[in-house]
Amino acid sequence: MTGDGEQAEERAREQRGEATGFEDRSAACDRPRFDNGSWRALDPRGVTVARIGAWIAVGVVTPPLVTGAVLLVVLAPLPRWLTLALPIVVAAVLIGLGWLAHRWPPISHRHRGWRLDRDRFEIRRGVLWHQVISVPRSRVQHTDVAQAPVERGHDLARLVVHTAGTAGASVTLEGLALATAEAVRDHLVAHESDDGR
């Protein structure tokens, strides 16, 4: 029985006092209840990580954008108004991107969540396009818990649930606390082997 091993591990983790990120965990509960089907938010530290990622993206985009604009002004025979307007446009775009990099992650965070009930794993995401994806547990082929460098620094992880599907062959949930991601993974995988399917 793999379940026993996992439970023991879970218990040990709890005894070490590691946060698993579950708000409704009562002291009496031997094992955190994952599968009560209520929606859970992701770890708030995920906002910071997403911001860092977005800032890095802005940082990557900036040099070519600025260089391009400078080259255009210096080398191309542009009309005078365009020469004046170009730096303003580039600056506006960069400021806009920077603002977005700062503001978007918390908004996106508010729209993201996950839940687990007896027979399925669900995530929801999307600010403009709201999306809820359900993965029946018996369809989980395998799962990954991955950590990018920045995520590692903040003790966060992303959970990737793979199915045999085509368009939705994998479902990624970013911004989980590492311990939570591992617990959910163990839960999904344990369920699978318990059923002997």
């Binding site: 396009w129 709201h130 993965v135 018996s138 369809r139 045999a164 085509t166 399917r197």
Partner: protein, 489 residues
């Protein structure tokens, strides 16, 4: 996995086919050498190619062995680089046989074994005797179904184990199918290939052999061109009919326990086996020509019959052509346990028509805008284009309907060309419910159901413009139903 049966060789006739294939690869170069070599030791050149090829074929035959042991197929091959492949029976999707005229004369078959791994067949065995193939089928597919899958037949008694024919396609229907499918191009491509190889220049041929074509008489030229085009179209359809009749001659689909077996072919005989529970998605297609004849084409996708273009284009037909009214009974027979007669088709809400029309009017206007900028007079065309687009959009929504049965979800769509799709709960992988900003304003949502190998277009079933609550209830229901079934490859 106890029993250790001895390894078997392929049928001795394999030698003939292997050598034949090996030589076949050198046929064109050999001919070139013969023709262009002007007799200067061309035989030596040919021998130089042919002898090693033959030797390789021989070695291949003598090193290729297979064994059906316990729960798996083991194939050993290779001399220098030895390879032993184990294919568990459980993973085998289908065992297909192909028999050309020569195969049939010798009582053997090319066998290809498919797993879910995708494009390439897991193993291609050329050639096996028919008895060996039958033995393999028995061993691979007729082992007991272990779990209570929704698709497992309840009456597994030996009495029902016999073959039950679900559909047979007559020659008249094959002629219709030839007209519908218009595969004449395939035949034409082959002919053009020959012409290309033979280095015949058609234009020169025409100018030389058709009287009056040497001069530049334009009206005549145009007329000839049109006549040629019409003749070409007719010839293409005729070729297509011939192709259809020859390829699918004597098509029968029968159910043997949990397997569907399709047999067809006049010259080259095919037998395709598809385990019912491995069908991921069934699609019934009707284009305009189908509807003229009152026929549908039925396709089934298994997890294995993938993106492979050549080999599987033909094989993912469940039935190439079928009378329209036989469709639902056949689907019921294929899946065994849902009552197609009780299908309660749910239309999309009426508001959906308005939304679709609005959306496509906007889209067509945006697309037309550049043309108007180019030339103002083109603006006159906009109302016509917009009206057409709106009509198509509205009819598209009106003809979309979905249904759920105890073990499957159905989607029917299309106005002029129609399709019906069926996905069993047991093959659903994920369910996604999406609301775009426009959907939210209208209180609607899209439900998408994904299966293994649902194709390039993405989700196997996509139901747009559902009422928010309906979408929620549907996706909930499907998720619960899917979770209650076991997915088997």
């Amino acid at each position: 996995m106890g029993d250790s049966r001895p390894f078997q060789r392929l049928h001795p006739a394999s030698l003939l086919f292997l050598v034949g294939r090996a030589l076949g690869q050198f046929l064109v170069p050999a001919l070139v050498v013969l023709v262009l070599g002007r007799g200067e030791r061309s035989e030596v050149w040919i021998a130089l190619f042919a002898i090693p090829a033959t030797a390789v074929a021989l070695v291949r035959y003598f090193t290729y062995r297979y064994r059906l042991s316990g729960e798996e197929l083991v194939i050993r091959e290779g001399v220098i680089r030895r390879n032993e492949r184990h294919v568990p029976f459980e993973r085998i999707q289908n065992i297909d046989t192909t028999r050309s005229v020569l195969h049939r004369a010798l009582g053997v078959a090319d066998v290809s074994i498919q797993t879910a791994s995708g494009a390439e067949p897991e193993a291609v065995m050329r050639v096996l005797s028919l008895d060996a193939v039958e033995a393999m089928r028995q061993r691979v597919f007729v082992h007991p179904l272990t779990e209570g899958d929704a698709s497992a037949e309840t009456d597994d008694s030996p009495a029902t184990a016999s073959r039950r024919t679900l559909a047979a396609v007559g020659t008249a229907d094959l002629v219709r199918y030839g007209i519908i499918s218009n595969r004449g191009l395939v035949a034409l491509a082959a002919i053009l290939g020959v012409v290309w190889q033979a280095d015949i220049d058609p234009t020169r041929w025409i100018t030389h052999h058709v009287p009056g074509m040497s001069g530049a008489e334009w009206p005549r030229l145009v007329l000839t061109g049109v006549l040629l085009a019409v003749a070409g179209l007719i010839v293409l359809r005729l070729l297509s009919i011939v192709w259809s009749v020859v390829t699918y001659h004597g098509f029968t689909l029968s159910r043997e326990q949990d397997e569907l077996v399709a047999r067809y072919g006049l010259l080259t005989e095919h037998a395709v086996t598809i385990p019912c529970h491995r069908i991921q998605l069934v699609t019934a297609e009707e284009n305009l020509l189908h509807r003229v004849f009152g026929r549908v084409s039925l396709r089934a996708r298994t997890a294995g019959s993938g993106s492979d273009q050549q080999h599987h284009r033909r094989h993912d037909w469940l039935v190439p052509v079928l009378p329209r009214d036989r469709l639902e009974p056949l689907l019921a027979a294929v899946h065994g346990d849902f009552a197609a007669a009780d299908l309660a088709w749910q239309p999309l809400p009426r508001r959906a028509v308005r939304r679709a029309v609005k959306r496509w009017l906007l889209m067509s206007t945006l697309l037309w805008l550049p043309l108007i900028i180019l030339d103002l007079r083109l603006a006159a065309g906009l109302p016509v284009a917009a009206a057409l687009v709106a009509l198509v959009a509205a009819q598209g929504v009106r003809h979309t309907a979905w249904a759920t049965t105890t073990d499957a979800v159905w989607l029917r769509r299309g106005w002029l060309a129609r399709s019906t799709r069926v996905v069993r709960h047991a093959t659903i992988q994920t369910i996604a419910r999406t609301e775009s900003p426009f959907d939210r304003r209208a209180g609607m949502a899209v439900v998408e159901v994904d299966t293994a190998n649902s194709g390039l277009a993405g989700a196997a079933i996509r139901i747009p413009y559902l009422e928010h609550d309906t979408a929620g209830a549907l996706s909930d229901r499907l998720a619960t139903a899917a979770a209650a079934t076991a997915f088997r490859w």
